[in-house]
Amino acid sequence: MRRRSPEDFAAEIASHLAHEADGRGAAGAERAFGNTLQAQERFWESTRWWPAWVRALGRDARLGLRRMRRTPGATLAALTVLALGLAAALVVYAAADVLVLGGLPYPAAQRLMLVSTATTPPAAGDQLSSDDFADLLRLAHSFAALAGISPVWDNVADAVGAQPAERIPTLFVSAALGPMLGVRPQRGRWFTASEDRAGAPAAVAVISDHLWRQRWGGRDPAVGQTLRIGGQPITIIGVLPADFHYLGEPLAGTAGRVEMWMPLALNPLMQTPRSLRWINVLALRRADVAAARARQEIATLGGNLARQYPAQDGGLTYSAVGFADWVRAPHRPAMMLLLGAVGLLLLLACAGVANLLLEQAIARRPEMAMRRALGASRPRLLRQLATEHLVLAGLGTALGAAGAGAILRGLTPWAPPQLFAGRLPALDLHLLAVAALALVATALGFGVAPAWTALRERSAAPALITGGLGRLRGALVAVQIALALALLIGAGLLLTAFLRVTSISPGFDAAHAVSLSTQLPSTATTLPQRLAGDQRLLAQLTALPGIAAVGLVSRLPLSGKSLSSELWPEGKTYAAGHQPEVQYRVASSGYFRALGVPRIAGEGFSSRDDTDTTFASTRVLINQAAAQQFWPGESAVGHRVQFGAQPKGNWATIIGVVGNVKADGLDAAARPTVFRPLAYSALGAPIVVARTGHDTAAVLQEIEADIHRLDPEMPVYNAASMGDLLAQSLAQRRLLLLLLGVFAVAGTLVAVVGVYAAMAQSVARRKRELALRLALGAPPARLGREVLAQAALVSAAGLTAGIVLALLLARLLRSLLFETSPVSPGIYAAAAFGLGLIALAAALLPARRAARTQPSTALRDLG
């Protein structure tokens, strides 16, 4: 049968009534017919095809929605609390999953280990030499494979036609690395062991998906093509998948993308002696060997090598750590902090929802009892209560998930790429399921259970409730305040640390300074050739309009890049193996002015230092940190120093002292640093620093175009304003502060809603009692004060608990706090005072309402 339309049915009823009216008159007809609406209702029910329980559920859900509309305040509060808690949890879990919790994207990630070395005294670098690596390969038995990985290599692809030269960050790696990481090229193949051998017939390379798309437009024939690097042809044999991500970039000394992978054997450093340590080693532990035994074997082999080659490897200890641990270690404290904060916030949300629903449930006891007395069956009422709360929890979950999705999308531009390394956080469905379950359980537990207990009482008389807040509800409010305070104090500590870090001067003037990297053509191999190239570059850029100063340097500040040398100050002797190290830089005379680094003592480099190699070879600048370390209390100017592992009598005189510049980030101490003139050691890969009066982005473009005009064989990369670099160095701290700040604000909001709702509902419930007391002569102000006092009492309890909680948790923050004590009374007091004030303000409105109770109406309404 075709389904009938309700209009058709209505027409039939009308026809019936008309026939009936022929006999009895219209009123009589209707009376005889009974309730037409009811008939239509029954018609509806009979035409629906879905089962009865679905209809009942739908009806209950509609009832729930209608109730929500009737109590918009309480509903809005509950939804806010639910959605806020859930959204925050989802966002942070998503980030933590990428940074700390999730597995590495490699098939055998748990068995990957990093072999590193350490020297006593500690020096920069934890790599192995070619010979050490060869020995390990031969001797270590705990591993299925060992792969050597070079530092990142700035290969420059030669200019082809209109395409200027391009830097291609390259890693030289053992053939074993591909299978070890489970690499499956999307096109072509990974290189074989025979291609990773000294004297291999042809140089081959595997490229990244990014390079493939950028240089070959993602077209197929990249494989088999030749790329010329310094005139030497390199055959491309494979393209990596787009989602392949190597997590060892920091090992290679870069935060950027690795674009090309070549066999380790092709690296020019392979022939260097045992004393030059440059290889990072990644090892795949055999499945049948325990991690402890593998570590033990590496340590033993290292000890043997140190005894065998005391001159090169003496004082060197070997160790192996889990690769996953190593990758995660830098983010662990921050993510643990955030996960803890999420836990607090979720608890807070649950407490808040519980409190709101508890109050509603209590308020509905008379209603439930009444409906029971009117004949509603208990399962029927329970079903309705459950449905209502499910609707509430469902709406809250949906809002929370949608909010989290929006936040994650909004957060993406904020997420520092070097932090998330290409893999962006996304909504986690498992956590969504778990959190939604927790919220639903809370909603059902605190919403349905109390109302349900009322159903056991048979009478319709409202259950007698004692005055005041009630112990459970007071405790719930106090818990919310305690948790919110802990979050606020945490955020306060982080904010203080952040402000302290940002108030530190980087040692240079970041405003209007820009920098970019370039490389001289590969034909410039000798020092005079490189010097001529550097000078040509300087001359070209100095002539650009709008540039106040320009300089070249070997390493930028805040990059965390290190190149050190042993320092031999004249007249000072150190124990063998304890020769001090300093950071070693080459800079042109204009560098200090371009970056805005002040001169503290003596003179600076002159233009002759940029041109005259003989003149420049005896001159050196040092920074304040070096001056204080080696010549405390006296002028360093005029002292002579030598450099290198074994000095050969090439003395250089300190001609001046410059200000400290932060090399590793604002929160790290400046390291002793020396600067040598450009003419002494011309730069093959100079970093250009320029000071400009106007728009930095435009200037960067001009400089880039200018360099390409000068020589298309020179690539330009890492172009950025110094202000951006400064901001980038604070990215993790800022993100962390932002997230915890959001939590603290959300937590405070939830707690305030909690206090307000609890006090308001308590006042509403006590209306009759308050009215009676007013009628008996109690002064209204006193009733208001009583409500406030109650709020104050609960808040005080919550604040006390919150301070204790914060004291316990703040210890875990210590590593993130930078010179801020985890127990700073000021922050604790300010947070507690502020939150207390807000809590009392939230109680103000209910207090006023209590004081303004009209005895006559209140008693009439409820009597």
Binding site: M1, R4, F9, A11, E12, I13, S15, H16, A18, H19, E20, D22, R31, A32, F33, G34, N35, T36, Q38, A39, R42, F43, S46, T47
Partner: protein, 116 residues
Amino acid sequence: MPTQDAEALALLQGTLDLLILRTLVFGPRHGQGIARAIEQTSGQVLLVDHGSLYPALQRLERRGWISAAWGTSSAGRRARFYTLTAAGRKQLGREHTRWQRLSEAVGRILTLEPEA
């Protein structure tokens, strides 16, 4: 509920279907006509709850025992006329038998004399 007559009987659940089918044996009728026929034939003893009549018609129509079409009544009004289908005729036979057995059984119990 139209209960002007205290003696009038409310229909036993399930009997309405039977009575509708039975009424339609004499030809197509519209809803109001069916109700009137039942009331008249029963000598005004059986009152049809008109609010239940249409859901019942709906039910029977869905089961394929009656079919419906709009037409014009003797009063010159548009009305929806119901006709007994072949399946409905069969069903009537079954229902009829069942009802007779039931009423016989009930009648026996009610007329049972206490054993002397």
